[in-house]
Symmetry: C2
Subunit: 309 residues, 2 copies
């Protein structure tokens, strides 16, 4: 066990994952959790932890965030990302931004360097240029797999697609919670579509008075019940992260016959990773242990003493 | 009294209104309420009522919505609008859209003709073109007053600015609730800034199981507590519209030392128009009467039998 007790929970998007894709995605979310944990061991805050994990997964082409993001109707990458600091309710978001490899980092800059919460499209690019944030050619974010997915137009034919949105929630040693969520949206969306991810209270929410949440699924359904905020409301009313997550997912099914996945941590360090799809790769570090899984009901553990020394 | 009992409540934005501006804004929100009421008398739904009122106020240059919207840092009009149907939780929004005179109508088309909730900037324009929605020269939306406001850079020097965002909530004769909110944002914002208005649960929310809300104020603060959703949550828990409005505004002050205004109707037809700024022009039609006011605590009434016959 390390001296303090930070908690980090990661998801790599809910959906139905093919066999050969499951192992690599699980490996990657485990590594993201460990990296975020190491960051906390070096004094990183909850905000640093969720940013670290998000950037790691944005940089990996297996996830629908940063490099590897799905393509809109025009074959373009447009990215949404959100970050929130539970200490003061500060939040930052980018929506439909192009040519950015790490939208979560840009969202954090918007939070820290402007009076605003969300910048979109041309305005987000203009801000990136103004602060010297690196822009990249769109081609560098597009993978062969993304092109194939657009061709197959998965969004139109399969309701339980692989979303692969990524997200993180954390509690740091000072008792602050934070969340981050990052996505390329759904394949073949209309240009300029903004989903749940950058929409505060839908794709994520963080408040030290309750806890932090990151969601994944069909954005439009998640938005209609403001899923992340619903979960924190229920935690404010005394529910545990697991109860609040289950209640939120049940509401999504009852009201809209839709499925999703969520990760939750509360301000006491209790946490949950829940989903109503077949799969969601997730990993958590809590109490000196690594927890992870990808199928319904699956919880595996391994010790992590080695990295705490 | 008319045969059924629809309810409509309108706001014209919270803030500190100059004397000479108060009377005209109050007159206009009264007229917007009456127009929406007439629409209901002709069989219009709650959605039709809030759309009617929003378009009327968007077309009037006195409000910061549609024509008369404030200008961003580049001297441009970028509009945000939101509409939501409490019957099925369907919602539509445009964010940072240009060259559109009635963004609320475009938001409704997004809700009704796409699988999405929100389209932004270039994507919203592309959708408008695709469906033949009229685009207008930006100049036609800019008023001399908007130019002067940008010069004075009001946003930076006065925390209690005239927001003049417009909004409407309604209950129709079938028991459905709806909300709409429309704004040009804050003067001198960064390009592409998205505020609370199009963000579901922040600028508005509507659910037949509780009621409908539209908010006005500094978007970034409203977003951090998802003010509209907070109010519907509290109505779900049994609070009246007035109690839920007061509780939401109190939370905004306690957590973020910020002020705002809200209009609320519940599914039983109880309604409230509350604000913590000096002024908010508002008007309501309920129980065959017109109610209106602009100062704190002010509630005036007049009969409206004449229009129901």
């Amino acid at each position: 066990m390390c001296t303090k007790n930070p908690v980090i929970v990661i998801h790599g998007g809910c959906g139905k994952y093919k066999e050969d894709f499951q192992e690599i995605c699980l490996l990657l979310v485990k590594e993201a959790a460990l990296q975020a944990y190491r960051r906390s061991q070096q004094g990183g805050t909850a905000l640093d932890m969720v940013e670290e994990a998000s950037m790691f997964l944005e940089n990996d082409p297996h996830f629908n965030a940063g490099c590897g993001a799905v393509l809109n109707e025009c074959g373009e990458v447009e990215l949404d990302a959100f970050i929130m600091d539970g200490k003061n309710l500060n939040a930052g978001a980018v929506a439909a931004v192009r040519n950015i490899a790490n939208p979560t980092k840009l969202a954090r800059l918007i939070m820290e360097q402007t009076k605003h919460v969300m910048l979109s499209d041309r305005g987000a690019s203009r801000f990136a240029k103004a602060v010297g944030f690196p822009e990249v050619p769109m081609e560098s974010l597009i993978t062969e797999r993304s092109r194939e997915r657009l061709k197959k137009n998965l969004a139109a034919v399969d309701s339980q697609i692989e979303h692969e949105t990524i997200g993180a929630v954390a509690l740091d040693t000072a008792g602050n919670v934070a969340c981050a969520t990052s996505t390329g949206g759904l394949s073949n969306t209309l240009m300029g579509r903004i989903g749940d991810t950058p929409c505060i209270g839908s794709g994520g929410y963080a408040d030290n008075l309750s806890g932090a949440v990151s969601t994944t699924g069909t954005g439009e359904a998640i938005m209609k019940i403001t899923l992340a905020r619903l979960i924190t409301f229920n935690m404010e009313r005394g529910m545990s992260p697991a109860e609040a997550a289950d209640t939120g997912l049940k509401c999504l099914w009852t009201r809209l016959q839709n499925t999703a996945g969520v990760i939750v941590v509360n301000n006491a360090g209790d946490w949950a990773a829940k989903f109503t799809t077949d799969n969601m790769p997730w990993a958590a570090v809590a109490g000196g242990k690594l927890y992870y899984g990808i199928a319904l009901g699956e919880v595996r553990t391994s010790p992590i003493e080695d990295i705490c020394q």
